[in-house]
C-alpha cells in the first residue's frame, strides 16, 4: 500500500474511533439536527391564519351582521370580540388582543341598499408587515367581492343581464400549490443545521488537537497537512450525507416536502457543500488557539451565512450590496439546489451554476485551510 493511503486511512480510522466514543458529538451530529428540524419546521411558519379581529357594529342591521359573518368565515380572520365603539377597538389593537378591527358605521345597511357607497372601516396593526398585509388584503378582497355580488343582484332585480367583470384573474400556483411554508422552509432549515453542525464540529475538533498537543505530535510525523485534512473531513462527509438523508425523510413524512428531482444530484451537491462547511471549520481552527475561540469563530461565520442565504428571508428583499454578498455564500447555492431539485424537479441543466459554485467553494476552502495549516505549523 502507498504510504499516503496508509496515512490517510490512519487519520480516518482515528477520527471515526474518536467520534464514535464521544457521546456528545454523536448526539450533536445525529439526534440534534433531527429534533431541531422537527421543531423549526413547525415553528418557522409564515402562513397567516386566524388573525384575531374585533368588530364594532354601530348599525346592528341584517346587512352589517351578514357582512361581518361572511368576512370572518374564512380562516384568515377570526372574530375575537364585538366591542362597543372605536375607542375600545383601538385599545384592543394596542394591547395586542386583536390585529384587525372592522367598523360598521350607522346607516351601513341604508347606504348599501341605496347603492350609496356604504363604508366599512378596517384598522390594521402594521407592526408585523407580513401579517398585516395579508389581513388587509383579505379585507380588501372581500369588499370587492361584495360589491360585485351587489351589482349583479341589482342588475338581476331590474331584469338586466348581470355585467361581467372586464378582467378575470385565474391564478394557479405551481410547485407548492397549497402555499405551505414548511415545503419552502424545511430544505432551508436542513441546509442551516448541516452548516452549524459540520462547521462547529470540525473547528472544535482540530483546535482540541491543538489544545492537547496532539497536533504538535502530528506535525513531527511525516503526515502532510493535505492528507491530515482529507482524513479528518472524510468521516464527516459521510455523516453529513446520512444527516441529509434523514432530514429529507423527516421533511417528506412530517412536512410533506416533495422529493421530485434526482437524489443523486442532491447527494453530489451535498458533498460539495459539506466540503465548503468543513473547510471553513478547519480554516477557523487554524486561526484559533482554543476550542472556545473556535466555537465563537464558528458562530461568527454561521450566523451571517444563515441570514444571507435566503433561508430565513428572501434574497430579493435585501439591498443590492447585501444581495451581492450572498454570491459568496455556499449556503445560498445549496438551498437553491435543494429547493430546485425537491420542489421543481430541476436537474443539472438548471442548476449547474450552483453546483459548480459549491464545488469551487469547497475546493478553495480545503486548499486555503491546508495552506494556512502548513504556515501556522512552520
Amino acid at each position: 500500500m502507498h504510504p499516503l493511503v496508509v496515512q490517510y486511512r490512519a487519520v480516518v480510522v482515528k477520527e471515526v474511533r474518536q467520534t464514535a466514543r464521544d457521546r456528545r458529538v454523536m448526539a450533536l451530529i445525529t439526534l440534534a439536527p433531527l429534533v431541531q428540524l422537527f421543531m423549526l419546521g413547525f415553528a418557522v411558519n409564515f402562513d397567516v391564519r386566524h388573525v384575531p379581529t374585533v368588530v364594532v357594529d354601530r348599525d346592528k342591521t341584517a346587512e352589517s351582521r351578514d357582512y361581518a359573518r361572511s368576512q370572518l368565515a374564512g380562516d384568515t380572520l377570526d372574530l375575537k370580540a364585538e366591542v362597543s365603539d372605536e375607542l375600545a377597538a383601538e385599545e384592543a389593537l394596542e394591547r395586542g388582543e386583536a390585529s384587525v378591527a372592522l367598523i360598521f358605521p350607522r346607516d351601513f345597511q341604508k347606504d348599501l341598499l341605496r347603492g350609496h357607497g356604504a363604508q366599512v372601516q378596517a384598522l390594521v396593526d402594521g407592526s408585523d408587515p407580513t401579517r398585516s398585509s395579508v389581513a388587509a388584503n383579505a379585507v380588501a378582497q372581500y369588499a370587492v367581492l361584495k360589491a360585485m355580488q351587489l351589482a349583479r343582484a341589482q342588475a338581476q332585480a331590474q331584469g338586466e343581464t348581470p355585467p361581467r367583470s372586464p378582467v378575470e384573474l385565474v391564478p394557479r400556483v405551481l410547485y407548492n400549490p397549497e402555499l405551505s411554508t414548511s415545503v419552502y422552509v424545511v430544505p432551508g432549515i436542513a441546509a442551516m443545521l448541516l452548516l452549524i453542525v459540520t462547521t462547529v464540529i470540525m473547528a472544535m475538533g482540530l483546535s482540541r488537537e491543538r489544545e492537547t498537543g496532539t497536533l504538535e505530535q502530528l506535525q513531527v510525523t511525516p503526515l502532510r497537512p493535505g492528507i491530515l485534512m482529507a482524513g479528518k473531513v472524510t468521516p464527516f462527509l459521510l455523516i453529513g450525507l446520512v444527516d441529509v438523508g434523514l432530514a429529507l425523510s423527516v421533511g417528506a413524512w412530517v412536512f410533506k416536502v416533495p422529493l421530485r428531482g434526482s437524489l443523486t444530484l442532491v447527494a453530489v451537491a451535498t458533498l460539495f457543500y459539506l466540503l465548503s462547511t468543513l473547510g471553513v471549520g478547519l480554516l477557523i481552527a487554524t486561526v484559533s488557539r482554543t476550542q472556545q475561540q473556535a466555537f465563537v469563530g464558528g458562530f461568527l461565520f454561521v450566523l451571517p451565512a444563515v441570514l444571507l442565504s435566503g433561508v430565513m428571508s428572501p434574497i430579493r428583499a435585501m439591498p443590492g450590496w447585501l444581495a451581492w454578498l450572498t454570491y459568496l455564500n455556499p449556503v445560498r447555492y445549496y438551498v437553491e439546489v435543494l429547493r430546485g431539485v425537491l420542489l421543481k424537479e430541476a436537474g443539472l441543466p438548471d442548476l449547474w451554476r450552483q453546483v459548480l459554485a459549491l464545488a469551487v467553494f469547497g475546493a478553495l476552502m480545503m486548499a486555503v485551510a491546508s495552506r494556512r495549516f502548513h504556515k501556522t505549523s512552520a
Binding site: Q7, T212, V220, T221
Partner: protein, 312 residues
C-alpha cells in the same frame, strides 16, 4: 561516522527576543545527550527547530543527515519526538494510539502488528493495551508516549522534558528505557531540569538565556565549573555568618537551602577544618558539617550565577 545531530550557529528570534542565540554542537550516533536549562532558557525552541517544527532565523542544523530548514519532511521521517505533554489521544485506547502513530509513519499490515507487539512487550504495556489512555496514571501515559515516539524505529529520538510531573520511581524506570534505547543504537536528545537525571547523560549542554554556556561530560562539567569540595553546613546563627563568608579567600560559592547552606571551597586554600573553626568562632555552635561531592546542581548554579553577574 557522521554525527546524528550537527548544529552550527543556530539562532531563533521572536521579534526582539532571541530565544536561541548562536548555538553550535554535535551529537554522536547512539549518544545520550542532555540539554539542560531553566524554563525559558531556549531548550524547547532548540528542540522544535531540530524537529522541523520551527524555522531557524539563523545558522543551520542537520539531523539524521538532512538539513532541518531545507528538508524538514525527510528529517521528520528519521526522528521520534515526545513532548512533556505526552501528546496522546486520551479518548482512545492504548492500542488505537499505537496503531495510529505507527500508520502515520506508513507502517501497515503485518509490519504494523510486529512493531506494536514488540513495543508493547518492551514497554510492558500488555495489560493495559485495551484501556482508555486518559484513565491510566501519568507514568503509564509517559511510557505509551515514548512507545508512540519510537514505534517507527527512528535513528534519533527527541524527548522534551519527558519526566515532568512523574514520580521518582517511575522516573528511574523511564531512564532504564532510555538507556535501553541508546544501547540499541538510537541517539537520545533529552531536555530536563532534574539535575540527578542529567547524570545519566553521556554529555550535557547547558543553556542560559538562549546561549549554550557549557558542553561536556558530567564529570568534566563538575571539574571545570564546580571544582573543590562541597560542604553542607547546619547550625544556629548561620545566616549572618554566611553573609560575611562570601568573598572570603578560598570560598567559591555559598548557597542556602532550607535551614542550612552548601559552601563550595577550594581545599588548597581553605581546608574544611579552618572553615569549621571560623564558623564556630561566629557562634555557629553546635556546627554540623558534611562533606559531599559537587553535583550538577552546583554546576548549574555556578553557571547561572555567573551569567547573572554578566561574566562570560
Amino acid at each position: 561516522m557522521t554525527p546524528a545531530i550537527e548544529v552550527h550557529h543556530l539562532t531563533r528570534r521572536f521579534g526582539d527576543f532571541t530565544a536561541v542565540d548562536d548555538v553550535s554542537f554535535e551529537v554522536g550516533a547512539g549518544e545520550i545527550f542532555g540539554y539542560l536549562g531553566a524554563n525559558g532558557a531556549g531548550k524547547s525552541t532548540t528542540i522544535r527547530m531540530l524537529c522541523g517544527l520551527l524555522k531557524p532565523t539563523g545558522g543551520s542544523a542537520r539531523v539524521a543527515g538532512f538539513d532541518v530548514d531545507k528538508e524538514p519532511e525527510r528529517v521528520k521521517a528519521g526522528i521520534g519526538y515526545m513532548s512533556q505533554k505526552f501528546s496522546l489521544y486520551l479518548d482512545l485506547s492504548v492500542r488505537a494510539n499505537l496503531e495510529f502513530f505507527a500508520s502515520a509513519y506508513g507502517a501497515h499490515g503485518r509490519e504494523l502488528e510486529t512493531r506494536i507487539g514488540e513495543m508493547v512487550e518492551r514497554m510492558q504495556l500488555g495489560a493495559v493495551q485495551d484501556e482508555v489512555t486518559g484513565a491510566l496514571p501519568g507514568g503509564m501515559q509517559q511510557r505509551i508516549a515514548l512507545a508512540s515516539a519510537v514505534l517507527h524505529r527512528p535513528r534519533i529520538v527527541f524527548l522534551d522534558e519527558p519526566t515532568a510531573g512523574v514520580d521518582p520511581v517511575q522516573r528511574r524506570s523511564f531512564w532504564e528505557l532510555i538507556r535501553d534505547l541508546a544501547s540499541r543504537g538510537t541517539t537520545v536528545f533529552v531536555t530536563t531540569h532534574y539535575m540527578d537525571e542529567a547524570e545519566n547523560c553521556a554529555r550535557i549542554g547547558i543553556m542560559v538565556d538562549g546561549k549554550l554556556v557549557a558542553l561536556d561530560t558530567p564529570e568534566g562539567l563538575k571539574r571545570t565549573h564546580a571544582p573543590g569540595r562541597v560542604l553542607e553546613v547546619r547550625g544556629p546563627r548561620l545566616a549572618p555568618a554566611l553573609d560575611s563568608l562570601r568573598g572570603m579567600a578560598g570560598v567559591l560559592d555559598v548557597s542556602r537551602f532550607g535551614s542550612g547552606a552548601t559552601v563550595r571551597v577550594d581545599p588548597e586554600r581553605l581546608p574544611a577544618e579552618s572553615l569549621a573553626e571560623w564558623l564556630r568562632a561566629r557562634g555557629v555552635d553546635p556546627l554540623e558539617m558534611e562533606d559531599s561531592a559537587p553535583t550538577l546542581d552546583d554546576v548549574f548554579l555556578a553557571l547561572t550565577a555567573r551569567a547573572q553577574r554578566g561574566e562570560d
